[in-house]
Symmetry: C2
Subunit: 322 residues, 2 copies
Amino acid sequence: MTDVMKAIVQTTEGDPEALEIQEVPKPQLQPGEVLVKVAASGVNRADLSQAQGNYPPPKGGSEIIGLECAGEIADTGDTDRSVGEKVGALLVGGGYAEYVAVPEGQLLPIPEGWSFAETAAVVETACTVWSNIVMEVGLKKGETILIHGGGGGIGLMATQIAKALGATVAVTAGSAGKLEVCQKYGADILINYKEQDFAEELKNKCDVILDIVGGPYLKKNMFALAEGGRMVTIGLQGGNKAEINMGVMMMKGIPLHGTTLRRRSLEVKAEIVRQTIENVWPMLEDGRVKHHIHEVLPLAQASTALKHLVDSTHTGKLVLEQ
Amino acid sequence: MTDVMKAIVQTTEGDPEALEIQEVPKPQLQPGEVLVKVAASGVNRADLSQAQGNYPPPKGGSEIIGLECAGEIADTGDTDRSVGEKVGALLVGGGYAEYVAVPEGQLLPIPEGWSFAETAAVVETACTVWSNIVMEVGLKKGETILIHGGGGGIGLMATQIAKALGATVAVTAGSAGKLEVCQKYGADILINYKEQDFAEELKNKCDVILDIVGGPYLKKNMFALAEGGRMVTIGLQGGNKAEINMGVMMMKGIPLHGTTLRRRSLEVKAEIVRQTIENVWPMLEDGRVKHHIHEVLPLAQASTALKHLVDSTHTGKLVLEQ
Ligand SMILES: NC(=O)c1ccc[n+]([C@@H]2O[C@H](COP(=O)([O-])OP(=O)(O)OC[C@H]3O[C@@H](n4cnc5c(N)ncnc54)[C@H](OP(=O)(O)O)[C@@H]3O)[C@@H](O)[C@H]2O)c1
Ligand SMILES: NC(=O)c1ccc[n+]([C@@H]2O[C@H](COP(=O)([O-])OP(=O)(O)OC[C@H]3O[C@@H](n4cnc5c(N)ncnc54)[C@H](OP(=O)(O)O)[C@@H]3O)[C@@H](O)[C@H]2O)c1
């Protein structure tokens, strides 16, 4: 094997359109890591933030964009894996490339009958959704969950997992088209946030909220939470600042959580992946949870993929293939 | 038995000095309740808020002040308890009286060798502290907890329980005298909040914060929390409003909780009491957790007791005896 590989490199800092394929050094394996030859990479909104210069990789992480992929193990490092094993992988970066180094705890099997592209389209959302709605805030059967951005990659995954868990699902989205897709994937209550006030519709009714908007929705989310409800914020698409009335938090007994999967420790990530394989992979294999790929593009068109996110014209996931 | 009893009645709404003993109807027992003849009642800061008109009792609750007491069962209602049984009791109200009706799930035994006054001085704080630092935010051995208001009734109880659990305890208080008492009860790190900035002293170090200040401390508390730390707010002595940066919450992964014991359901209260008996009562009986009674006053002097809270000249608990 040569020491170089192809990868997406940003030629102008902060410009998501300035992405092109170049030759870069192959990643060096750390103890406990395997080298994966990437066949397909999932596209996430965080990739756009990173390309815009707003979401730098954690210290020591790859500068290359890309939080998830699927492919074959090309080098097993010091692990007991096998060369040629087909895997999905949760990454802190480096997915938009020919090869990526992956801690063994972040490998997932390919679900029975799924392609690389399909697998790359669900790893990040499955791990994010499971770790947040179950591990972080304990969604239970019979509860009502409000999922903001129901038509996004996270939103469709969250809707399906929540339904599989026996919850009632309310979603927000900005168009009738996206809401229709949400309904197809199981959403029970559809709210067009451009036309309706979700807080009025769901006043005191939500046991769990999965939030991606942040500041501008905080007061409304607290209004929509039932007594004993829990919220977890994983995105700040509307901004990070808000005024909070802590009296409401106390009187209703509503804990507010916030997490970023990428910043979790190796141990926590491995546990999240373990639980995701145990709980979500069977849902993928028996069809309770489906992927929803908006479009598969060649890796060289990474800029075009990110442009879809800027315009928010997509529903579900974008995938880059090699 | 006659149908009337003595109780503290407020003669001018909103005036904590206008409290006097009057004859009022004895409480009627609901299914599952026993009648306790009160020997001693603990005084809590919420009693002051209620007397000031800021903390009305929940619907259906007694209008009489008082969240905890100790005494003897005078009427067993439909329960299997015995008349004459000595008990402590967690109340939603009604403690400043000769008799009070108590759901059976909110009765606690008198710790071995403890008096009524001593028991009445620990019921509310023990249940509040256990339910929050353990049940709500899971304080673990080896972790660091910051306890605001370390010299108060809650503060001294929280310090001792946290030490018994094997945590490192930091406290804030407003005077050297109170900090000295905190140290005597086990606090490891003493911060005079009038002279030092706790957030600078404890930057990124706190795994758990037990907060009673609210709005004005929110930003500082989030600064003091370690990654993965958890905060629970149970008092708003500084006010309820704050600006929050949700990005910090996400990046550090720090859930913010808020609770009020009085508003919890009967079932949750019973579970809190059960766990408190199981976990804290042994600590009381073997001396790991001690009461700290500032002063015992006759019930008729309820106003004087509340005056101490206004002036904040007390350390630990005030108790009213009959
Ligand atoms: N913290 C973590 O660990 C983590 C992990 C993964 C993802 N995330 C975050 O989760 C969010 C969703 O990610 P994604 O990959 O699903 O992105 P996505 O596919 O672009 O979906 C985002 C969706 O949000 C909708 N939206 C925008 N503003 C909204 C508002 N005010 N109310 C309701 N919906 C709104 C958009 O729909 P419309 O066009 O209808 O507005 C879009 O469908 C992003 O912010 C991402 O950064 C966080
Ligand atoms: N949510 C619930 O379920 C629940 C249950 C019980 C109690 N509580 C609340 O918990 C709080 C404490 O109750 P308590 O009975 O322990 O009252 P307490 O005995 O009056 O103690 C309160 C302590 O707070 C200190 N303090 C005031 N401002 C402070 C500040 N800015 N920073 C640090 N310390 C400060 C005071 O000390 P200095 O004189 O030194 O300032 C005082 O010692 C109250 O707000 C009460 O309402 C809530």
